[in-house]
């Protein structure tokens, strides 16, 4: 839910970890 997402985004450490994971996933897709 939107509320759950807001909760996650409230935590800076969690937000950074999420971005790092998504960046790695994107890099993996790019490299094939």
């Amino acid at each position: 839910s939107q509320m759950a997402e807001d909760d996650d985004d409230d935590d800076p450490e969690n937000r950074i970890a999420k971005k790092m994971l998504l960046a790695q996933i994107k890099a993996n897709y790019s490299s094939g």
Binding site: A4, E5, D7, D8, D10, D11, E13, N14, R15, A17, K18, M20, L21, L22, Q24, I25, N28
Partner: protein, 95 residues
């Protein structure tokens, strides 16, 4: 024999971690797929190790205690699994 026990314990803990985190990362299902991929690529020796059991146990306990940090512990586990990837390129030591 002990290795098989550890392997089974670790598999159970990993499943528990995945089930817990999947419920809290519904907006990003690709993250759990990524974790599964890293787990699949990790060396069998590491997957049956005490080190992996300790890491899993710690991540699961902390993730359950601090729901707003779910991605932090998924990221930590992915990093550890990546460090023990079976497909890691060997470091060049000979000149």
């Amino acid at each position: 024999k002990e290795t098989h026990v550890l392997q089974a314990e670790n598999q159970k803990l990993f499943t528990e971690f995945v089930e817990y985190c999947s419920a809290h990362t519904e907006d990003c299902p690709e993250v759990m797929k990524f974790l599964h991929a890293k787990h699949a690529k990790a060396s069998p020796e590491f997957l049956a190790s005490v080190e992996f059991r300790n890491t899993l146990g710690r991540c699961l306990t902390r993730a359950q205690a601090r729901r707003t940090k779910t991605f932090v512990y998924i990221n930590e586990l992915c990093t550890v699994l990546k460090q023990h990837s079976a497909k890691r390129r060997p470091t060049v030591t000979a000149v």
